[in-house]
């Protein structure tokens, strides 16, 4: 098992190398001038040139690249100009916020879309099938920033059901001791129900925004996958054996239909982690998405590189997790792996 994991990770190395190179090139092409930024508002061209030399920005690209790789190897992701912090620290502090939001969004989405997909497949062609299709498609058709704005307007401004969109916690609370970095979990570990409620009240609206957006792919895949499994021979066998419809649908069909759904979930998760940059912006969520946007807009190399690298590693790990999950669900994969 361990050997397989190592092997699986090994196959991801070329993409990671690719990511490092592409990110490096992309950030060097960005028109911003780090040296000008460092030199301050009234810098003279000489001052900028001096800083350039100091930062090694006057070197040829391959040399800069080597220096960058050397830094990476020693775990140094550089400094962010905008936040003034080491990128590694920034990302470590912000990743849990994004992950918690994205996971909760995905969880909400799964809780709605999977049953919806199953129902749509079981009652193919019925009103619920059409409803599933329309709801899911409408969800994915909404630009997240638009959904987020509307939800804030309605639920915070008009109805007052949600607290102010001001990040992860209202300011009178202090964050729970970090165990997982997820406030919802950490507050429960600390046994602080009030804190949990406070964290929940902040997170549900952005999570719903994300969930709405991710409904479609999951519901669609669940439906399609269930349809094909329901039409398969072994489901017919199960029905012919007199198994209860619930057992046939959930125990037999759904577990088999789960495989493509898991793959979709993985894709949706990594997609959401990247796409929630906009949601984070709308809800002032202190995650890595909004961090990356700011950095990109201000041509702040290091955070962009760090963010992309972190996401790439996350993506690799995610795929690994999916493979492992796949193996748990499907015995065939276990053997062949």
């Amino acid at each position: 098992m361990l050997k397989q994991i190592v092997r699986r990770l090994g196959t991801a190395v070329p993409s990671l190398i690719g990511v490092v190179i592409v990110t490096f090139l992309l950030t060097r092409v960005l028109p911003g001038d780090t040296a000008a930024y460092f030199a301050g508002p009234a810098a003279t061209p000489q001052a900028i040139a001096e800083i350039k030399t100091k930062l090694g920005l006057d070197q040829r690209l391959p040399v800069q690249f080597l220096a960058y790789v050397k830094d990476l190897a020693t775990g140094n992701l550089g400094m962010s100009l905008t936040t003034g912090q080491p990128v590694f620290e920034d990302i470590r502090a912000r990743l849990p916020a994004s992950a918690e939001l994205t996971l909760l969004g995905l969880l909400l989405s799964v809780a709605v879309s999977v049953p919806l997909g199953i129902l749509a497949a079981v009652r193919q062609g019925s009103w619920i099938d059409h409803l599933c299709r329309v709801v899911a498609t409408a969800g994915v058709s909404l630009p997240v920033f638009f959904t987020g704005l509307l939800l804030v307007y309605v639920f915070y401004y008009k109805l007052g059901w949600a607290p102010a969109p001001m990040g992860r916690l209202d300011f009178i609370y202090s964050a729970p001791d970090t165990v997982t970095g997820f406030y919802l979990i950490d507050s429960l570990i600390a046994g602080d129900v009030e804190l949990f409620r406070a964290a929940w009240s902040q997170i549900w609206l952005p999570a719903v925004t994300l969930a709405i957006f991710s409904l479609a792919p999951i519901a669609r895949m669940t439906r399609a996958s269930m349809l094909s499994v329901l039409a398969s021979d072994f489901v017919r066998t199960a029905r012919a054996s007199g198994l209860k419809p619930s057992k046939v649908v959930m125990g037999y069909a759904f577990r088999n239909a789960l495989l493509p759904v898991i793959t979709t979930l993985g894709m949706v998760f990594s997609f959401l982690l990247g796409a929630n940059v906009l949601v984070e912006k709308v809800f002032a969520w202190p995650g890595i998405g909004s961090y990356a946007i700011e950095a990109l807009i201000t041509s702040d190399y290091a955070p962009v590189q760090g963010f992309v690298l972190a996401m790439a590693i996350l993506y690799v790990l995610l795929n690994l997790a999916i493979d492992i999950l796949y193996g748990l669900v499907d015995p065939r994969v276990r053997i062949e792996a």
Binding site: G32, F38, G84, A93, Y156, W161, A164, M166, I172, I297
Partner: protein
């Protein structure tokens, strides 16, 4: 209170809160209620990137930290403006760390407060002041540049007389030297603490002060989560002024302007700092919250033309542009009337030595066309109008209107939004033909503004690449006469360079923008500062 009850009562409570009677609903426990009374919740778009004013690339929100957490020798006095709002008074220096001072032709001697301490309890001495000033003139970059603006250039100028006496020697007579000692940069650092954190590579301890405050100011940073929030606690042993009334300040970064508005309107935030003109106007009209607006001192929103390159090297072209700009439309649609118009004066000759003031151009398309034809561009030309993406709220509609209007005289304009950091780089290169930009000087003196924006030394802020021997003479003259106190000559020089600027028109001033703040009615003591950041020390909460 459980969640459901909370939801039910939330809207009721919050409507109460909005009228300023009770706290908003989000506070659910008694301890939280009392915390709220002494806590100030502040929201703004961006937060600091560095807690040290001497730091490399410290941004404007960073100034706010330095202002509140460090003391200077002196501060500015206050004055009440015509509209009832309170502003700093650039003409009045008041004691802060220094109890008193003596100014002679060659130096200024400061007596420091004996009871002043740093946050760690150690006493503030003249050695600390010297070390801090040495640091400011030595680290390079912005602090050094700012010190230089007041002719504070060398460590030798800063002399420790005794533990509580400190002297600044002047290297030349400069009207700006004393005022420059009251800006943020000459803050006093706890030199022992910082030196203990200094390393071989970092002998000024910049890494430490970037993350920590090492001063003796009225507040100290209790927690800083970059990009998210800064939490300040009051320094209970502050001796350099009256004890501030606010115990705790929570400063949250809320990037979306809409959300910031909602927060203040619904009473969830105490102060929303630096709001868009439209929100200000509407909040003012609604009357639910208190709004204060002050013209940004020495600040001008303008259209700059690159005079080093055709077609803007031709005076007529520049004048044509100045006639083609839809000033009133901009004031109405972009600024919602909030801003001091800098156009439409009776003539281009000014009588008062004040800045900013209006020029004589007005929207006159026919005249613009005529001038353009005279310049040899009867059919117009194509050009690019660039602006900073970070300031798009104002610049985008503004440039759109300018683009439309210039189109009427045949100038085909493409708009180019440039993301924040690139903007500074582009400005430095001085290659953009046409820009929309804003510039303000900390020190509110006309010659200070012109020295940076029009002088042939060609500083970054002279975005037009404008050079004129006559202009340089007038500006240098004004600096000299001001230092010498020769006011009639000074007035002549100032009106002279303003007239010249309007005649040559390398940049078209549009308006002087306002700094807008909205706060709950329970908040009092707001004061406008030249650095355009908030001073917590005077704020009170009813």
């Amino acid at each position: 209170m459980n969640r459901r009850e909370f939801l039910k009562s939330a809207s009721v409570l919050s409507s109460v809160a909005a009228t300023g009677v009770a706290a908003p609903a989000v506070w659910s426990s008694a301890s939280a209620q009392s915390a709220r009374a002494e806590t100030l919740l502040l929201v703004s778009e961006a937060g600091p990137n560095n807690l040290d004013i001497h730091g490399v690339g410290t941004n404007r929100p960073g100034y706010e930290v330095a202002w509140n957490c460090y003391d200077r020798l002196m501060s500015y006095g206050t004055k009440t403006l015509a509209d009832g709002s309170v502003s700093y008074d650039q003409n009045k220096l008041v004691p802060e760390l220094a109890e008193s001072w003596d100014v002679t032709a060659n130096s200024a001697t400061f007596k420091l407060r004996k009871n002043a301490t740093f946050h760690d309890g150690s006493p503030v001495t003249a050695q600390d002041v010297k070390w801090s000033f040495d640091r400011a003139v030595s680290v390079g970059g912005f602090p050094t540049f700012q010190m230089k603006a007041g002719s504070l250039e060398k460590p030798e100028q800063f002399v420790v007389v005794d533990d509580h006496t400190f002297r600044v020697d002047f290297i030349r007579p400069d009207r700006l030297t004393m005022p420059d000692l009251a800006v943020i940069v000459p803050s006093v650092f706890n030199s022992k603490l910082v030196q203990s954190k200094a390393t071989e590579q970092d002998k000024w301890g910049m890494e430490f002060t970037k993350q920590n405050t090492a001063g003796g100011g009225a507040y100290k940073v209790a927690k800083w989560t970059s990009g998210t929030e800064v939490i300040f606690e009051r320094n209970e042993s502050w001796a350099c002024g009256p004890m501030p009334s606010i115990k705790r300040v929570v400063w949250r970064m809320v990037p979306s302007a809409g959300n910031r508005r909602a927060l203040i309107e619904r009473g969830d935030a105490d102060i929303s700092f630096d709001l868009p003109a439209k929100d200000f106007v509407e909040l003012d009209k609604a009357g639910k919250v208190k709004v204060v607006s002050n013209p940004v001192s020495n600040g001008v929103q303008y259209i700059g033309m690159n005079v080093t390159k055709p077609p803007f090297d031709k005076l007529e072209v520049r004048q044509a542009v100045a006639y083609a700009i839809p000033y009133q439309k901009i004031m109405d649609a972009v600024m919602f009337g909030l801003g001091k118009p800098l156009y439409g004066a009776a003539s281009n000759k000014v009588s008062q030595p004040v800045w900013p003031q209006a020029h004589g151009y007005n929207t006159d398309i026919a005249k613009a066309k005529e001038l353009l034809a005279k310049a040899g561009y009867p059919e117009g030309f194509e050009t690019t109008l660039s602006f900073d993406l970070g300031a798009a709220v104002v610049n985008e509609p503004l440039c759109t209107l300018v683009q439309e209007s210039l189109g009427q005289i045949g100038i085909k304009v493409t708009l180019n939004k440039i993301p924040g950091a690139n903007w500074r780089g582009e400005i430095t290169k001085k290659e953009m033909p046409l820009i929309a930009n804003f510039f303000s000087g900390w020190l509110d003196y006309p010659e200070y503004f012109f020295f940076w924006a029009y002088h042939g030394q060609n500083a970054v802020f002279n975005t037009m690449g404008y050079k004129s021997a006559e202009m340089d003479k007038l500006i240098d003259g004004a600096r000299a006469t001001a230092a010498a106190g020769d006011w009639p000559a000074y007035d002549k020089d100032v009106t002279g360079f303003i007239d010249l600027a309007f005649a040559d028109m390398p940049r078209v001033p549009l308006f002087q923008p306002y700094l807008n703040v909205a706060m709950q009615k329970s908040i009092a003591g707001y004061q406008y500062w030249f650095h355009r950041q908030l001073d917590y020390r005077t704020l009170r909460k009813a």
